[in-house]
């Protein structure tokens, strides 16, 4: 058994290296790609959730409209919250695999390769 318990919170290379990477156009692109996806998506799903909560809280008449049999608007919108959650999860994973991971892996390789 080989265990390496790494204690390097304070010893990971000189600060200058990190600042150099942080200032590089490559890293700026990675940050831009991450933020342009996760921030709008977060706003979107929080607003959509809030709309749902407010409808369930204050629009009982609308939510009680029956669509098919006993299946009403409230159940439909509730189940759509499940659908949207699954959909956003899938979209994010696809985006992260294609647009984030390759850039992150490249920068990480440069940092860790250069440090050794």
């Amino acid at each position: 058994m080989s265990t390496t318990d790494q204690d390097r919170v304070d010893e990971t290379g000189p600060g200058e290296t990190w600042q150099k990477v942080q200032a590089s156009p490559e890293f700026a692109e990675l940050r831009r790609r991450l933020r342009t996806f996760v921030f709008p998506m977060t706003v979107l799903f929080l607003v959509w959730y809030l709309v749902y909560v407010l409808l369930a809280d204050y629009a009982h008449g609308f939510m009680s409209i029956k669509l098919i049999g006993n299946f009403n608007v409230g159940l439909l919108i509730g189940l759509l919250q499940f659908v949207s959650t699954f959909l956003i999860t899938w979209l994010y994973v696809r985006y992260a695999n294609r647009r984030l991971d390759p850039v992150a892996d490249k920068i990480r390789g440069e940092i860790e390769g250069g440090a050794q």
Partner: protein, 536 residues
């Protein structure tokens, strides 16, 4: 009161205990096997970071689907109909916050605890102390709710009456949990959660198919069944508002609860700590995806089970049973599969409490040993990692003892508000600081302290002076009324206030560490020099 002594009619307590004992025996063997590889701090706290994404995702759902979300939500839907469904949605959508904003960056930056991340570019000692205080507070509220729930379950499922019988069972649950945590560390605890999650989800799946089969796989006729059985208030089961729609205040309360649910999950320390048990950020992402799918499917099952209990058992029998709403799912199991299925579901419910309290205990003990002992008291100069793990084990023992005593004292109290309190504290004291640290360049020590201590204080004060503690319909303290805050759930006020405090605290202080910020940002986004898995 006659029913209270009898447990659920038709239940076979001996059978329930045997099935539960088999679960305990199997998990203990696994925990012992896991303990053979638990040597270092990284093994004890983070299972050597050796779990795969899917394994960790299953364990997360085992950690997250507590007795409250299984028995509680199914019962709430059976009695209050649509309003019970709203809990599931809040608990599920919350995972998008964890997926998009927290999980991967946290895994890349930290080591064992919440304190690792929020103190990364701050002054270590004060921020770690604050992170430990809020971690211990959230864990303790959550733990107390689970242990008190165990007392109620004993009454409901095992038919054990009398104070001493119930106290003994709470003590047994506590001692088992301490054993899992002390012997197995994070690896043992994780396996307990994985086994429990698989049993819970399979059990719920079987019951869901059974219920749907009884109604010809027609969801609308299932709903009709619940409406018919519900009597005069039956039709209201399908529409929102049965529980929360009564007054303007109760509607605001619902809004407040909804906000705390969706923002609390990504600040729950025992959920956050699970992200450290996988080797890379990409595995943390996979864990969340698995957790979202499993938790989402499980909540769809509870929708069927809740309405199924309403239709096949009926609200009268549920309300007359010990534990009222909590008994809806067990009564449905009895109705469908007789004493054997009830025994299985009862054992799963106990396993649920066991797994959740074990997860909470290891989180709280890690936070005390790693943040308070190693970094605040010893200023990061611990002689050996073994010393830190020893402190963590002693802490787990103390927390376990406190949980047993607390569970016994709280067992007849209405402690449902404790879970809401835990979510509100997590969303107020933890989430703003986590998000600011990860995404806001200008954030600093002062902002973190204002937000964490301020959020914790505001949340606790609002709860103490809320109708949940005194003056409400089911208050914790009866006979007096000192409440002045109208809502039972403080989130609507405490969450925005904590974000604001974090902002003000940060801009009013000039502290800013450009080098540490560069290191944190680059590490969090790229995973460079992230903690690696230990090879065995």
């Amino acid at each position: 009161m006659r029913h209270l002594a009898a447990g659920v009619e038709g239940s076979n307590p001996t059978l329930n205990i045997i099935i539960f004992a088999i679960f305990v025996a199997i998990t203990l063997v696994i925990v012992f096997r896991a303990s053979r590889n638990t040597k270092t701090a990284s093994d004890y706290y983070a299972a050597g970071r050796s779990f795969t994404g899917p394994q960790n995702g299953i364990a997360i759902s085992g950690d997250y689907l507590s007795a409250a979300s299984f028995l509680g939500i199914a019962g709430a839907i059976a009695i209050n109909g649509y309003d019970g469904f709203l809990y599931s949605i809040g608990f599920l959508v919350a995972w998008l916050v964890a997926l998009l904003l927290v999980a991967e960056l946290l895994r890349n930056t930290g080591k064992f605890t919440l304190g690792d991340v929020v103190a990364f570019r701050m002054r270590q000692r004060p921020v770690r102390a604050a992170a430990a205080v809020s971690t211990l507070a959230v864990s303790f509220f959550y733990l107390l709710a689970q242990m008190a729930g165990a007392g109620g379950l004993v009454n409901l499922l095992l038919g054990i009456q009398g104070d001493w019988g119930q106290n003994a069972v709470i003590a047994v649950v506590g001692v088992l949990m301490i054993l899992y945590v002390l012997i197995g560390g994070m690896k043992g605890t994780t396996w307990v959660q994985i086994i429990k999650a698989v049993l819970l989800i399979l059990g719920a799946l079987a019951m869901t198919l059974w219920v749907l089969g009884k109604f010809g796989f027609n969801f609308s006729s299932l709903l009709q069944g619940a409406v018919d059985r519900g009597g005069a208030s039956g039709p209201a089961l399908l529409d929102p508002g049965k529980q929360y729609g009564k007054t303007g205040t109760s509607k605001l309360d619902f809004l407040s609860l909804g906000i705390a649910l969706v923002l609390g999950t990504a600040g729950l320390p025992h959920v956050l700590m699970r992200f450290y048990t996988v080797p890379t950020a990409k595995d943390a992402r996979k864990s969340v995806v698995w957790a979202i799918v499993l938790i989402g499917i499980f909540y769809l099952f509870t929708l069927v089970l809740g309405y199924g209990a309403g239709a096949l058992v009926g609200p009268q029998r549920i309300n007359a049973a010990p534990g009222t709403t909590n008994s809806a799912a067990p009564l449905l199991a009895l109705e469908l599969g007789g004493p054997v299925l009830l025994g299985f579901i009862s054992a799963v419910a106990f396993a649920t409490i066991l797994a959740v309290v074990a997860g909470l205990t290891i989180t709280a003990s890690a936070s005390f040993a790693h943040d308070v002992y190693a970094n605040v008291i010893k200023k990061g100069q611990v002689d050996s990692k073994q010393a830190e793990v020893r402190v963590a084990r002693i802490t787990a023992l103390v927390i376990g003892a406190l949980a047993i005593v607390g569970g016994i004292l709280a067992k007849n109290q209405n402690v449902a508000f404790l879970v809401a309190l835990a979510f509100a504290v997590a969303a107020s004291a933890n989430l703003p600081t986590i998000l600011y640290s990860l995404f806001w360049k200008r954030f600093n020590t002062s902002g973190a302290l204002w937000s964490m201590y301020g959020g914790l204080a505001i949340t606790i004060v609002l709860i103490v002076f809320s109708p949940a503690v005194s003056g409400g319909s089911k208050p914790m303290i009866k006979g007096v009324d000192f409440h002045w805050f109208p809502l039972e759930n403080p989130g609507l006020v405490s969450i925005p206030a904590s974000f604001l405090l974090g902002f003000l605290g940060a801009v009013l202080s000039k502290e800013y560490n450009a080098k540490k910020y560069a290191e944190m940002e680059v590490r969090s986004l790229t995973g460079a020099h992230a903690e690696k898995a230990t090879a065995h």
